[in-house]
């Protein structure tokens, strides 16, 4: 089957996110109130060809851990959007 998967790769909690902090600090001066906790990371969309949904998940996890993210400073989450037989 061919599944569209989307991953979000964010810096781990407690690790400085310079982009997030700088954007957050400047939002009020741009006229946007009541916004906090800004964190910015990567969104990756891929199509994965694999025998089963479990296979798709396994391949995505391995790819995320070994290549798409750096486990030392980043965490990742993923969603398998649709699976066509």
């Amino acid at each position: 089957m061919k599944a569209r998967v989307s991953l979000d790769i964010m810096l781990k909690q407690g690790i400085l996110d310079p982009q997030g902090t700088t954007v957050e600090r400047n939002l009020p001066s741009l006229g946007f109130e009541g916004v906090s906790g800004v964190r910015i990371g990567k969104h990756i969309e891929v199509e994965v060809e694999a025998p089963s949904r479990e296979e798709v998940a396994a391949r995505v996890e391995e790819m995320a851990r070994r290549f798409l993210s750096n486990p030392v400073i980043e965490d990742f989450t993923y969603r398998i959007e649709n699976g066509s037989a």
């Binding site: 407690g14 690790i15 400085l16 310079p18 902090t21 700088t22 750096n70 030392v72 400073i73």
Partner: protein
């Protein structure tokens, strides 16, 4: 065994060091005190294994304004100006996360220069990696260069030189050394001293988080929610924008004369900056951790004190100037908070109304242990030295051999690397990357400064003393080839595990050789850095002392490059001998590393350097190029490539 001894030992303090702490304090140390001593008495901060050798180096000279022991070396360059420069290493963080490890290496050395009140005008990056046929080393190279590019370009300091070398010994431990040069006013050099009782300690820059707490984190009394977080290595994410606004704020504070003292928060963070600035003025400091802006609210005192969050500075300001100083910082978008006051007594740290640490600043900053580690020449060296490079088969086709050498990783063009660096900002770059030395105009004067970083680890493997002397001599020749007179040296000493007697022997020999060469060439050492424990799965790297040499060109219009003009005569200065020991040809062609490094006549080197500078000053030569790695053939080829003009050479004529 008292609880505090267990904790102390788990942080690398020995039993007798713990005993000395108990004697100094007259009681058991608190958890925060143990963390502070462990950080301040670490190899990185106290130089405990290298101190006895480093103090043999020549550090005095007519131009030296500030030598080792301050934030950076300061040298007089005339016109009421000083050059401030230093080199540091960020090897271990770069192995774990290459982009951020290298980026924060740039950030740290730049803050050392800025803390003397000087504006940074140049960065050089000597880098060393394992062999390129392994994917991991290509990943490390790409990451480190990207980190230096992103950070250095963003803070507006041109990266104008350095080097990239490859050797299997660096496979698990890349070397990321970064040199920064700044220009300041001679009458306004800022020292890292908390000079006046009652002065206020102002912390400014980024918030403090749990970055880089590494080993000390074992002290944490809260449970770690994940195994990864428990052993999170000392990785910090760099924020070049926070660095840029902190630099501009610092320079404006200095210009307005608001600073009594200034120090970067680097290794051992706030604990180091407070204890060192107080100790240098033989005073104390009252610190209130409640004032420190935190990124995470549940931080313990020991974490706040030893955090190595980036882009933070500690300024010592007179009470009446604090309001203006805070306003200057705010104008640049930098938060500045008073966290302490200079006192007569000890360094006293308060947290939520309670004294969590009290110790003499001097004992933390200046009374670290001094080790006399055993040093012994390793036996494997004799076999290596016994190999005869002259027995290697000579190439039958010299042309092909030269082309192979020019294509080898250590000699080939590094344009792929330095085109990722902004080498133009600040409109002062007379000679950028790719030549013998970087040459930079001194703003507002007719002068220029030349800078070169050099180090040949293979020579040092074969003979650490001679190899280190070669590094100084080659750096001097490089700046002389640009028309400059060598003035002073900074050094980054990258070595293996000091607990291995062979490594300590290499270190002792290298420092001795460096000292000899610096004396012979009259280039005193104004500071530097020692990085031990560089090894891959227990295998030590080759001894790699890297020398940063500063030269002065009185008339910038007389600066030289390596490109020659058409129709010019080509002269070789100095003697050529049949010496192939540790040569790049033997390594690149036959994978051979053996024999003895080439001989070195320091007196002749000194005369050669003077001759080159005088020829340039009298405009008797138009270009010059140092003959080093790869030999004469490579040197001539590089001149031709740089100018696009060939040459007909007949070595037979004398």
């Amino acid at each position: 065994m008292t609880a505090s001894l267990d904790l102390a030992e788990s942080l690398g303090l020995t039993a007798d060091e713990h005993e000395r702490i108990v004697a100094t304090l007259g009681r058991e140390p608190t958890k925060a005190e143990i963390a502070m001593y462990a950080a301040m008495w670490s190899e990185h901060c106290s130089y405990k294994s290298s101190k006895i050798y480093l103090k043999t180096l020549p550090t005095e000279g007519p131009r030296v304004v500030m030598g080792p022991g301050e934030n950076a070396g300061v040298v007089d360059i005339g016109d009421g100006l000083v050059a401030v420069f230093k080199i540091e290493s960020h090897n271990h963080p770069s192995l774990v996360e290459p982009v951020q490890g290298a980026a924060t290496g740039v950030g740290g050395i730049v803050r050392d220069i800025v803390s003397t009140g000087a504006r940074p005008i140049a960065i050089l990056d000597p880098l060393r990696f394992g062999a390129l046929d392994e994917w991991r080393n290509r990943w490390l190279l790409g990451g480190v260069v990207a980190g230096i590019s992103q950070y250095g370009n963003s803070i507006g300091i041109p990266t104008v030189g350095g080097e990239v070398q490859f050797d299997p010994c660096y496979r698990g431990n890349p070397l990321v050394n970064v040199l920064c040069l700044g220009i300041g006013r001679a009458d306004r050099v800022i020292r890292a001293r908390a000079e006046r009782v009652g002065a206020v300690a102002l912390l400014f820059g980024n918030k403090t988080g749990r970055d880089g707490i590494g080993g000390v984190s074992v002290l944490a009394s809260r449970p770690f929610d994940s195994e990864a977080e428990a052993k999170r290595p000392s990785v910090q994410v760099g924020d070049p924008f926070a660095e840029k606004i902190a630099i501009e704020a610092c320079l404006e504070l200095a210009e307005r004369g608001l600073l009594i003292g200034l120090q970067d928060l680097g290794g051992a963070g706030l604990c180091c900056a407070t204890s060192e600035t107080a100790s240098r003025a033989a005073l104390g400091m009252e610190v209130d951790l409640d004032q420190v802006p935190l990124r995470e609210d549940d931080m313990e005192p020991f974490e706040i004190l030893t955090s190595e969050s980036q882009e933070r500075m500690l300024a010592i300001v007179a009470p009446e100037d604090v309001a203006e100083a805070v306003a200057v910082c705010a104008r640049w978008g930098v938060t500045a908070v008073a966290v302490g006051k200079v006192t007569e007594g000890d360094l006293v740290v308060n947290r939520r109304g309670e004294v969590v640490a009290r110790a003499p600043a001097r004992s933390l900053a200046d009374e670290g242990p001094t080790y006399h580690r055993p040093a012994r020449r390793p036996e494997w060296l004799d076999e290596l030295r016994a190999r005869d490079p002259l027995a290697l088969p000579a190439p039958d086709d010299l042309g092909a051999a030269l082309l192979d050498l020019l294509a080898s990783p250590n000699i080939c063009s590094k344009r792929w690397v330095f085109e990722q660096y902004d080498s133009l900002v600040q409109h002062g770059t007379l000679a950028g990357p790719g030549g013998d030395a970087a040459v930079l105009r001194v703003p507002g004067t007719g002068r220029a400064l030349a800078l070169s970083t050099d180090g040949n680890a293979r020579y040092c493997l074969l003979d650490p003393r001679l190899g280190a002397a070669h590094a100084v001599a080659e750096a001097a020749r490089n700046v002389a080839c640009s028309g400059a007179r060598p003035v002073s040296v900074t050094n980054c000493l990258n070595f293996g595990n000091p607990e291995d007697p062979g490594v300590m022997w290499q270190f002792a020999e290298a420092v001795a050789g460096m000292g000899e060469a610096c004396r012979a060439l009259a280039t005193p050492v104004t500071g530097g850095n020692v990085s031990f424990y560089n090894q891959t799965e227990g295998e030590n790297i080759h001894p790699t002392p890297v020398i940063g040499m500063l030269g002065v060109i009185e008339d910038a219009s007389r600066a030289l490059g390596i490109a020659w003009g058409a129709g010019r005569a080509v002269a070789l200065l100095g003697e050529t001998r049949a010496e192939l020991g540790g040569s790049e040809w033997a390594w690149a062609t036959h994978g051979f590393a053996g024999g003895a490094p080439p001989s070195l006549d320091l007196e002749a080197e000194s005369r050669l350097v003077d001759l080159l500078a005088s020829l340039a000053e009298r405009e008797l030569i138009e270009s010059a190029h140092d003959c080093s790695q790869g030999g004469l053939g490579v040197t001539l080829a590089e001149c031709a490539i740089a100018s696009g003009i060939g040459a007909i050479l007949d070595p037979a004529t004398d």
